[in-house]
Symmetry: C2
């Protein structure tokens, strides 16, 4: 059960002019479920993306990188669930390419103008024929964002979508996004797909900047289990069918909205983390630099011992201190570190605070959401991450995934 | 239930002349359990140790480091379970020191000649008074190595001890060791205590070398959950009451035996990993150097997704490839990697081997012990690690540890 995460209301999800959605049941892995999504883009749309850093990147990721670096504008995105087309070698590249070619033929564009995305089991051949057979069905639909969010779910229990309207000098614009992912989520992307679209008109250069800023402030700040997938992708689309964002003020408004939508999607992934029962914000303050704050934060957020203590609402705070000590930060002086659970000071100067009582920590950790805050007292930098606990159900879900 | 690990037979554990063992029930945390171990060393014994790299090292570790660097010979080791005396600041140092002083007073030596070790819950004050009150009981006993192994157990389900006799030029010598640890185990030590003793006479310099060699070949090659504890310690004792090991050949025989005993103890820790149902050897071959082989090995051994797949006997081999890709090895070419489960070639050149059938992987992984072997095909180095799976019981044990 996801932590404080309800399915989005359809009426809250604004359509994005210049972007058409179509969903199909192609039977990629199982029958009778939406498993193919096609997003068609108006001519002139600009697209930017960031992708997994896993050295085993999947075939569709390789093709996305190539096609995004080309000069021809992207005209469509095609997403399938059920099969990740990863660990599939040259054959996998060929199959992803077949899907792009088939969609391009329908749309009268080139295969290089299509971006493919796949998520699901790895090391099995992509059933490209079934996806291709499903394309006409997807192209006939005029689907909404909620259906789109549903069509990209795998082990997700809740569809993830968020939308905002913003005021630019030239008029109102929308920013709407969907995402999927619930396990194997960590920085540098994960089996995580995120798509955020706006009808604002922005330059490709600006969009390339926005996609990095938004990823670093959202998907690269969340972790469920520390694994990084072969397929992670985060793509920004600006259809150009709405008001222009070129003036400094408009760019700031648009950037803030894109970051906000991306962050809510990223947090939704953690809230729906496999087996998650807690949503935990990890904040590291007074570090020398952001990088070391992030390292300390991830040392906490990835520790199985800390995560099982979160699950148990057990204020076994020593485990958190041990994780900090384990982060590999040179010269870190453990006797200067203060630790808080929400507003409760649990450790001061590296040792249990004299006033602290376990009941206080327990009360804070029993809540479905709380903040672990460590103050390193050695600098002025800070970083914030979001994570979840490690529960029985995480093991259950991942042990039974294929069976 | 530990994987292929039975309690050691008492008759297999050879006494070490020059080392006396005594166990007490001091009620450190719970009544009626052996929780204090005193090892008394004959005058002239030499001692060497390696300790946790966690920046939050526990009070006893600080004192061990200091006392081992002193000139006076070590005359005793004192170990308590139930409380780790970690995250306890100056007060914790004072309490550990009190225990050393009390034991030194009994033995007529200086506090600096005593090494203290603690394992158990962190961030709670060490009940030094109860440990001190238990010392006379321990000093009156003449305990055997099995009782010693039992006295240092925490979440361990099986006592861990191993012993060998070796032939040196000057006669027969023994090497006997005990260890504890079952969770939070990883390289650079973990809540892992290991003590290996011999009656052979070796120089302090040699023993200092042996302790590093043995740690790197044993305790630094195992991982349960990737966490590194505040208290990890591995100590070698040479009582000097047996034949001398100074000639090259004798040193080689002794080193081999110390490495062997240490490795069996380290593997026993993995076999008894919290909730473990599988004992998995991870071998990385044909890497550029040992360091990168170890990084790839740990990326596999620490991946919660891989570990849950081990638990499920699920040949979801893509998860292993994804973990390899995730190891952060620069220039790693995924299309050159071969992957084996025992003798089954599952992936060739980065993709599923054409001849591979899931039933083969399943058959291999259903066994309680198997080997995952990745061949990187980019060099001549290799490394071997040992790990276990991630089961329901891991979560259960760690979520309920304090309650």
């Amino acid at each position: 059960m996801a932590v404080n995460l309800l399915p989005p209301e359809l009426k809250s999800l604004h359509a994005v002019p210049g972007l058409d959605l179509g969903v199909a049941m192609a039977g990629v892995r199982k029958p009778n479920r939406k498993d193919v999504l096609v997003m068609r883009l108006a001519e002139g749309a600009v697209v930017a993306g960031v992708f997994t850093k896993n050295r085993f990147c999947a075939a569709p990721v390789e093709i996305c990188r190539k096609n995004l670096s080309g000069k021809a504008g992207i005209r469509a995105l095609v997403v399938n669930t059920g099969n990740a087309n990863a660990g599939t070698g040259k054959d996998g590249l060929g199959r992803a390419q077949q899907v792009c070619e088939a969609l391009a033929a329908h749309l009268g564009c080139k295969a290089g103008q299509v971006l493919p995305f796949s998520t699901g089991v790895i090391m099995e051949p992509l059933p490209a024929d079934r996806i291709i057979a499903g394309l006409p069905q997807a192209l006939l639909q005029q689907s909404n964002w909620l259906a789109a969010a549903e069509s990209i779910m795998t082990t997700d229990t809740v569809p993830k979508a968020y939308s905002r309207k913003i005021g630019l000098s030239g008029g109102e614009a929308v920013v709407t996004g969907i995402a999927k992912g619930s396990g194997m989520i960590r920085p540098d992307m994960a089996t995580m797909l995120g798509f955020v679209a706006t009808n604002a008109a922005v330059s490709r250069k600006t969009l390339n900047r926005f996609v990095k800023v938004a990823a670093d402030a959202s998907f690269n700040c969340v972790t469920v289990d520390g694994d990084t997938s072969t397929n992670d992708s985060f793509v920004l689309v600006a259809s150009g069918q709405g008001p222009e964002a070129a003036a400094k003020k408009d760019l700031a408004v648009l950037e803030e909205a894109i970051v906000d939508v991306s962050r809510r999607l990223a947090q939704a992934i953690v809230r729906d983390g496999e087996g998650a029962t807690k949503f935990v914000t990890v904040r590291i303050e007074a570090g020398r630099n952001v990088e070391e704050c992030r390292r300390v934060g991830y040392a906490i957020a990835h520790s199985p011992l800390v995560k099982t203590a979160f699950f148990a609402s057990d204020p076994n705070l020593g485990r958190i201190l041990a994780a900090i000590g384990n982060a590999g930060i040179k010269g870190l002086d453990s006797s200067r570190i203060d630790l808080f659970i929400d507003e409760v000071l649990v450790a001061r100067a590296g040792a249990r605070s004299p006033d602290y009582r376990d009941a206080q920590g327990l009360a804070a950790m029993k809540k479905p959401e709380f903040t672990v805050r460590a103050v390193l007292n050695r600098g002025k930098a800070a970083a914030t991450l979001w994570t979840c606990d490690l529960s029985f159900d995480y093991v259950k879900i991942n042990a039974e995934y294929r069976t």
